[in-house]
């Protein structure tokens, strides 16, 4: 039996975008701006020089002089947290830039070219996706010398496939559009079509994905540093600060609490913004 489907009536029972979502995302954006400013301006904002040891004033609880207290070698925790943000955000930016660059390139090629090339690239992507990010980063960080750079490379290696997959699906759908067909028929070379049509269209979903992923990258980087596989002394890094202070948690809670909160708030801000952006751009999820 064949059935013809009549197009739905355009009068949609579409709810207007609830204001809550906007506020939610806006709060995330504001938080991120604050965090970015705080870390960029760390040299001016920090009350003490970074890494200044003060063996006389070790493990002081939070006070007017040291808002977040001091650690076991007398460093000001607030200063360390501010500078630690630079490390975390640098890692996040580097990882996401590398992953997006590699992933989008491969994905766009796969999606535009189709055929066996697509199959090969997507199967390789599947293999990489079979490793949870932290696991592969962990294995890589073990065989390479632990450092911030290692952490960046290790995380980027596990992160690019998501972008490849995303870009491939966008590229595949764009390359079947009529204007791309037309361009192809007119003899416009493939690289030109990719640059003109496919890439710009992949940009928005990739940017949304980046803001969704930033929180995860920051958490993974912190975890690697916590395991001693990322940032090393004397670099200020949140995960590392937690690791160094963990035995003092019962007696000197501030040493661990503040760097941990910094990770939490930053990851939270990015996740909230990412979700808000996704909802705003994905019409299917407008109801949210």
């Amino acid at each position: 039996m064949t059935e013809t489907r009549v197009a739905e009536e355009p009068v949609r029972l579409r709810r207007t975008l609830p204001k809550v979502t906007d506020r939610f995302a806006a709060a995330g954006a504001v938080l991120i701006v604050v965090i970015l400013l705080a870390t960029i301006l760390a040299p001016w904002l920090a009350p003490y020089p970074v890494d200044r040891l003060d063996l006389v004033h070790t493990l002081l609880p939070p006070s007017g002089a040291h808002w977040f207290g001091t650690d076991k070698v007398g460093r000001d925790v607030l200063t360390q947290v501010l500078y630690g943000g630079r490390t975390s955000l640098t890692i996040a930016v580097a990882v996401l830039a590398m992953s997006a660059a590699v992933g989008v390139t491969l994905g766009v090629v796969a999606g535009y070219a189709g055929g066996w090339l697509r199959d090969v690239i997507m199967r390789v992507t599947d293999v990489f996706l079979a490793f949870p990010a932290l696991l592969l980063s962990l294995a890589l960080a073990v065989v390479l010398e632990p450092s911030v750079t290692t952490a960046i490379v290790a995380i980027a290696v596990t992160w690019w496939p998501w972008y490849a997959r995303l870009a491939a699906s966008v590229a595949a759908s764009i390359s079947t559009r009529s204007y791309v067909d037309a361009a192809r028929c007119l003899g416009v070379p493939a690289p030109m079509i990719i640059l003109r049509h496919v890439l710009p269209n992949s940009l928005t979903p990739v940017l949304v994905q980046i803001s969704l992923d930033a929180g995860g990258v920051i958490l993974t980087a912190a975890a690697l540093s916590y395991l001693g596989l990322g940032a090393q002394e004397p670099t200020a890094e949140w995960g590392l600060m937690v690791e160094q202070g963990q035995t003092l948690f019962t007696t000197n809670w501030w040493v661990v609490t503040f760097p941990g909160l910094a990770i939490l708030v930053t990851a939270f801000a990015f996740n909230v913004l990412g979700e808000g952006l996704r909802n705003a751009l994905d019409p299917r999820r407008v109801v949210k």
Binding site: V124, F128, P132, V242
Partner: protein, 338 residues
């Protein structure tokens, strides 16, 4: 269904093969000679040569890869540089403990995440929804090692409500020794009726399981909410409304089952993530699982052990995905027809 099944199985085998090659590649990236790592820095040239021979390091790379795959398949997963035990045996001891922890955590996450997601969907854009969204977002954003330390400090060290670390009170090994069947302590204690160890394990499980559950609970709640809201906007929900059903019963009796489909595939993804997140938690709570094993191996740069852990978790992940795909047919009758 069979054709779909065969295709899906073939895909899984292909991915596992890729996983093995990738693991091999990573391990061969080791700067420095693995033979030196095994024999120690003070080894004589003869000892080094013996080690090189033993690991086949003089062979061509493809030959090494082939040998690696052959060894894996025949059950030789290499020897740990740290414990000097076969990696396979170490993993067989550690993996059940991880499963115990992650399994408990996932059950907890499902038991909490799905009802919470339903609640948020029922009162969407109202206060309960707002609360659920903030909380689940926090649960997803919290650094797990930090949460572990915080809960351990507050509830174990300060309040003394729960034990600080370990899987069960080791004194019980002498008073009521455990007979092993599955190597999963809590299951073995249950089937052999070993109540002291059972209750002790349960007590020890609470804090680490709650920490591991945080992330999965958050994503499951978010996903359930989103899927339910989407489902309750479908045409069939309108018919159900027109039949007189209230919003709550539309959500729980009609929308939930189709909505569980995406939630289910999410759980496979989250499962592997939870195992690896569990690594950090195991390290904090000294839980005798894969994570503690991996972390100890890391500080010893024990590559065969790390390779074993990596491989095992990746394979488990592939399997979990496969199982979920098959389960989907049970939950959604449409998938069966595919």
């Amino acid at each position: 269904m069979p054709r779909y099944l065969v295709r899906r199985l073939g895909q899984a085998v292909l991915v596992v093969a890729g996983v093995i090659v990738l693991t091999f590649a990573i391990m061969r990236l080791v700067p420095g000679d693995p033979a030196v790592a095994f024999a120690g820095p003070k080894a004589t040239p003869e000892e080094l040569a013996a080690a090189r021979l033993r690991f086949g390091l003089d062979d061509a790379i493809p030959v090494q890869l082939w040998n690696y795959i052959r060894d894996l398949v025949t059950g030789d997963w290499g020897t740990s540089l740290r414990t000097r035990q076969p990696v396979r045996d170490d993993l067989l001891l550690a993996f059940p403990a991880s499963l115990e922890l992650v399994g408990t955590a996932l059950l907890l996450a499902i038991a909490v995440g799905i009802p919470v997601g339903v609640l948020a969907a029922r009162y969407k854009t109202k206060f309960p929804d707002f609360g659920v969204r903030i909380t689940s977002m926090l649960a997803v954003s919290v650094p797990v090692f930090w949460l572990a330390l915080a809960l351990q400090t507050v509830f174990a060290s300060n309040l003394g409500w729960f034990p600080i670390a370990g899987e069960y009170d080791s004194a019980l090994d002498t008073t009521s020794p455990l007979t092993l069947w599955t190597n999963i302590t809590i299951v073995d204690a249950l089937i052999t009726g070993n109540w002291p160890i059972f209750t002790s394990t349960l007590e020890h499980l609470v804090l680490p399981a709650v920490v591991v559950a945080a992330y999965p609970t958050g994503v499951i709640a978010q996903m359930t909410r989103a899927a339910l809201i989407e489902e309750s906007g479908q045409d069939h929900a309108r018919l159900e409304r027109a039949l007189g059903f209230g919003e709550t019963s539309i959500l729980t009796r009609f929308a939930l089952r189709p909505a569980l489909n995406p939630v289910l595939s999410l759980i496979a993804l989250v499962f592997a993530y939870a195992i690896v997140n569990g690594f950090l938690v195991e390290a904090v709570f000294n839980w005798p699982g894969l994570g503690r094993y991996a972390v100890q191996s890391i500080s010893n740069r024990d590559t065969p052990a790390i390779a074993g852990v990596t491989l095992l978790v990746a394979v488990v992940y592939v399997l979990a995905n496969l199982v979920v795909d098959l389960l989907q047919g049970v939950v959604d009758p449409r998938a069966r027809a595919r």
